[in-house]
């Protein structure tokens, strides 16, 4: 064994790991008796470089202008440009509406209408118990206005309450139960602000109408911000938002189009009514029929073939579909 060679395996001045300046696109003769191609710089110096014959003067890899580096620069510039465009879009153009975010059976995708806070038209109407202490009853009528068949549930007395989630099938001790707030299909929670017994369950102000329930009494209105919300939070009431379709006897245009079975929570001169169309109609036709019927204020409820139950009703209705995030407005005697 050549011990000297072993010792000289790595010379003292080369024991450190040096940078490998070899390019991937060139060759270099390491050993042998090949002709030496020296660069002028190497010819000028008396001390030869450690390598034998570089085909080209090796240049540090970092100083090369590789195409990959240029490609990465282009990608970086494109990414910055895209981010800038997104920021511009968000802050100057506005957020794109989330389509199909609301759940409504047999209805078109609901677009979120901007909240219109009109103080002159802002009004809250509250149901009044006509005969306190007496047994609560519900009367059911049917009327046809301009080819719109309306089934009218009028509540006399009773306590309203809000319920989130599926109803107990064994629970029959109520006068009327209807779906209250629309639900977001992507989050399975009610659309807009939803307060259940003083506890906020969902947030959002994309609908200008609201229904507040305090001590079993229903109040509906059309306001972007309402002091009733604070009362509901403080007094353990319930609250949800929906479209206001009739305000002070005037129809209110809302964005959803198309035809479906429509329902509305109406309060006229202190009397609470839930009015349901028996044939698919547009919101415009439905709200016009309500005003013709004499309704002063109405708040849209979930339409379509969702679950609606009135144990004392004589008509047979399908069982109704259920959906995640459903909520119910229930009147109990």
């Amino acid at each position: 064994m050549n011990e000297d060679k072993i010792k000289d395996n790595i010379p003292d001045d080369d024991k450190r790991i040096t940078h490998d300046d070899m390019s991937d696109t060139s060759i270099r003769i390491v050993s042998g008796s090949m002709p030496v191609n020296r660069t002028p710089e190497e010819e000028a110096t008396e001390t030869p470089t450690w390598y034998a014959a570089p085909a080209e003067p090796p240049t540090p890899r970092r100083q090369e202008p590789p195409q990959r580096k240029r490609g990465m620069s282009c990608i970086f510039i494109i990414v910055i440009a895209v981010i800038a465009l997104v920021i511009l879009f968000i802050f100057f153009i506005g957020k794109a509406p989330v389509k199909n975010a609301d759940f409504e059976h047999n209805a078109e995708p609901i677009e979120h209408a901007p909240i219109v806070v009109d103080d002159s038209s802002a009004m809250v109407v509250t149901a009044i118990d006509e005969a306190p202490g007496e047994k609560a009853i519900i009367t059911i009528n049917q009327d046809t206005i301009d080819h719109v068949i309306l089934r009218i549930y009028t509540l006399h007395g009773g306590k309203a309450e809000l319920h989130l989630g599926p109803m107990d099938p064994n629970d029959k001790d109520y006068l009327l139960a209807v779906n209250a707030a629309d639900a977001r299909a992507d989050k399975n929670e009610p659309v807009g602000m939803f307060v259940l017994n003083g506890s906020i369950k969902a947030k959002g102000d994309n609908k200008n109408g609201f229904c507040a329930i305090l001590d079993g009494q229903v109040s509906i209105g059309r306001q972007g911000e309402t002091p009733l919300f604070e009362r509901v939070i403080n007094e353990g009431g319930s609250f949800f938002r929906q479209y206001s379709i009739v305000n002070r006897g005037e129809t209110v245009a809302i964005s959803p189009k198309g035809k479906s079975y429509r329902r509305a929570l109406c309060v006229t001169e202190g009397v609470v009514q839930v009015i349901e169309s028996q044939n698919p109609v547009s919101f415009e036709t439905f709200s016009s029929a309500l005003t013709d019927l004499g309704v002063k204020d109405a708040l849209a409820l979930v339409g379509g073939d969702v679950f609606v139950s009135c144990p004392s009703d004589t008509i047979s209705r399908p069982a109704g579909t259920h959906f995640p995030g459903e909520s119910f407005l229930i009147w109990r005697p």
Partner: protein, 125 residues
Amino acid sequence: MVHEIILSNTTDLLRVSAHNIMAITADGNSSIVILNDGDTKCVAFQMGELERIIYQQLNNSDGAPTLVRVGRSCMINLDYLYAINLPKKKLIMRSDNGYKHTLYPSRDALRELKEFIENHKISTL
């Protein structure tokens, strides 16, 4: 004259005749020495270190085999160079006993190697 290469670190030592080295390829932080009989040995040296060690051990030795670094990832013994295929980026090494080994360096390095051999009229076999 025997031109032996000794690659030694704290745990391993490889002693091999430089004439028997067909090629050396990079494998991460280590390198694989491919011998002309098909045997391979992994050594814990990066290609740059290996190149430096081989140069120092074979420098100015008469009759030493011609080892050429082809790109960053491989080093070949020109005695075993059999074929270059630029379109397929193939560098085929072949030993006397018929053992073949194919390397895939970059096309530019292959082109330069091809021109180098053409210019110096080197007959490999």
